[in-house]
């Protein structure tokens, strides 16, 4: 076949991005939700600078995790409903790669905007510049892991009618290590210590998720499409 594996990856990625671009509101929703959650804390708790600064790593990471959970529901749902998944399943290509391309597309349109907006929100929490850098880095390594873990859950629930809370319940506990490491890395940077340890661990989790999540999600999507 003319289309190699790289070509397959690219074709699927490009198509998913194109579909996403036609639906601007869907792309914006997770980011708006992220901003909203982050904005709730100073309003509900206490807007003092030193208090917010101590809160910032945790709040930003929790909001990023919630935004990721919220957006996951749609990852494979449309493809299952309109029959695209049947076509992808009967193709002679490794399904894991297709899943990986779709997950990357999903992260680019929902995860990446969150990562981009996060530093601006961190400023409103009076976070110092070097801690913001670490926050950005930890989100950049951590949120793709969240999307990959979420792809398993999204694949399992893609055929179910009501799945929002179920998805969060299933995938949430699996995402906790990422949350703990990411928030802690930023926290360590905030207190002036060296955060490379948790960042390396986050990288290791990303590598693990990259290799294990797509085949698991592929297995799950075959079951959901059955």
């Amino acid at each position: 076949m003319n289309l190699g594996l790289g070509g397959l990856f690219w074709v699927v990625l490009q198509r998913d991005l194109m579909v996403a671009m036609r639906r601007w509101s869907d792309i914006c929703n997770p980011v708006i939700f992220f901003v909203l959650v982050v904005a709730l804390f100073p309003l509900a708790l206490n807007p003092r600078a030193e208090f917010l600064r101590a809160l910032a790593p945790g709040v930003l990471w929790i909001a990023a995790l919630l935004a990721a959970l919220l957006s996951l529901n749609q990852l494979f749902r449309a493809d299952i409903e309109d029959g695209t998944m049947e076509q992808l399943l009967t193709l002679p290509y490794p399904l894991g790669l297709v899943i990986l391309a779709k997950t990357l597309a999903h992260w680019l349109v929902t995860g990446l905007p969150v990562v981009v907006v996060a530093p601006m929100l961190a400023i409103t929490y009076h976070l110092p510049a070097d801690a913001i850098g670490i926050l950005l880095l930890s989100l950049l390594i951590g949120t793709p892991t969240l999307s990959l873990l979420g792809s398993i859950g999204a694949a399992l629930t893609a055929g179910l009618r009501q799945s929002g809370v179920l998805l969060a319940l299933m995938v949430g506990p699996l995402m906790l290590p990422v949350l703990m490491l990411g928030a802690r890395a930023t926290d360590i940077a905030l207190s002036g210590d060296d955060p490379t340890g948790p960042l390396y661990l986050l990288g290791a989790l990303l590598a693990l998720a990259l290799s294990l999540a797509p085949p698991a999600a592929a297995m799950a999507i075959r079951i959901s499409a059955d």
């Binding site: 076949m1 003319n2 289309l3 070509g7 397959l8 074709v11 198509r15 194109m18 579909v19 036609r22 639906r23 449309a78 409903e81 309109d82 029959g83 695209t84 049947e86 076509q87 399943l89 009967t90 193709l91 002679p92 290509y93 499409a225 059955d226």
Partner: protein
């Protein structure tokens, strides 16, 4: 007038390294043996066997809920049977042949069109996946009567037009095994003729087709077997 063979010939020209005449070589004998599947407490089929020779068609008939669609999905490998296997020439049905081509084209109830993409964009995606030259998409659209809606988003297409687009996808795949689930649904008489002509040419070139159909399909002189479902074994 463009015939479908023309479309295929064009593909052969762009296919590098493919053996000459590969479209016409001996094609697999499709067989299903001892297929058994239960859905909850209902038995859809029990120890079902069938075969379809190259150049021949297998029509699956039966009342609603008798498991026709499920059987087609089993052949496509979308649904796992509890027992039994689907074979091509005695070996498990692979998804691509030696020349790297797709073995099967599945056309289910859902048309796999993204409502927000135009017809052309939708088809281009599948063309790229199956290695069909994207510059001949225009001819394919003309042949399937979709020129007028090529640049319309798929959501405004009528049900019949969507089905024609799905047929165009089947044609692009160049697969020797076609699995069509009630292909006549929503088609006008011209669409029906288009479908029948497309099937006749496919079968005449040693293709195989498994069709779930309620109405009669004119397949010309092609040998046709009928599999009646939903009767006590």
């Amino acid at each position: 007038m463009i015939t479908f063979n023309n479309l295929f010939q064009k593909r052969i020209l762009v296919q590098d390294g493919a053996p000459p005449g590969w479209r016409f070589r001996e094609v697999e004998l499709l067989t299903g043996t001892g297929l058994t599947l239960w859905r909850g407490a209902n038995c859809l089929f029990d120890k079902l066997s069938f075969s379809a020779a190259p150049g021949g068609a297998l029509l699956i008939r039966g009342p609603n809920g008798s498991g026709k669609t499920t059987l087609l999905r089993v052949i496509a490998g979308l649904t796992l049977p509890e027992e039994g296997e689907v074979h091509g020439n005695g070996a498990p049905l692979s998804r691509r042949d030696e020349s790297g081509r797709h073995v099967m084209a599945y056309c289910g109830h859902a048309t796999a069109l993204k409502p927000d993409l135009t017809t052309l964009e939708n088809l281009r995606f599948f063309a790229r996946l199956s290695g069909y030259p994207t510059d001949s998409l225009g001819e394919l659209l003309a042949a399937s009567g979709l020129v007028a809606c090529a640049d319309l988003p798929a959501r405004v297409l009528s049900a019949g037009q969507k089905r024609r687009a799905a047929f165009a996808r089947v044609l692009m795949s160049g697969a020797r095994l076609w699995l069509l689930d009630e292909p006549q649904t929503n088609l006008d008489s011209a669409g029906r003729q288009f479908l029948e002509r497309m099937l006749q040419e496919h079968l005449a070139t040693s293709g195989t087709a498994v069709i779930v159909a309620h109405q009669a399909v004119d397949l010309g002189s092609a040998p046709t077997a009928v599999l009646q479902m939903g009767e006590t074994a």
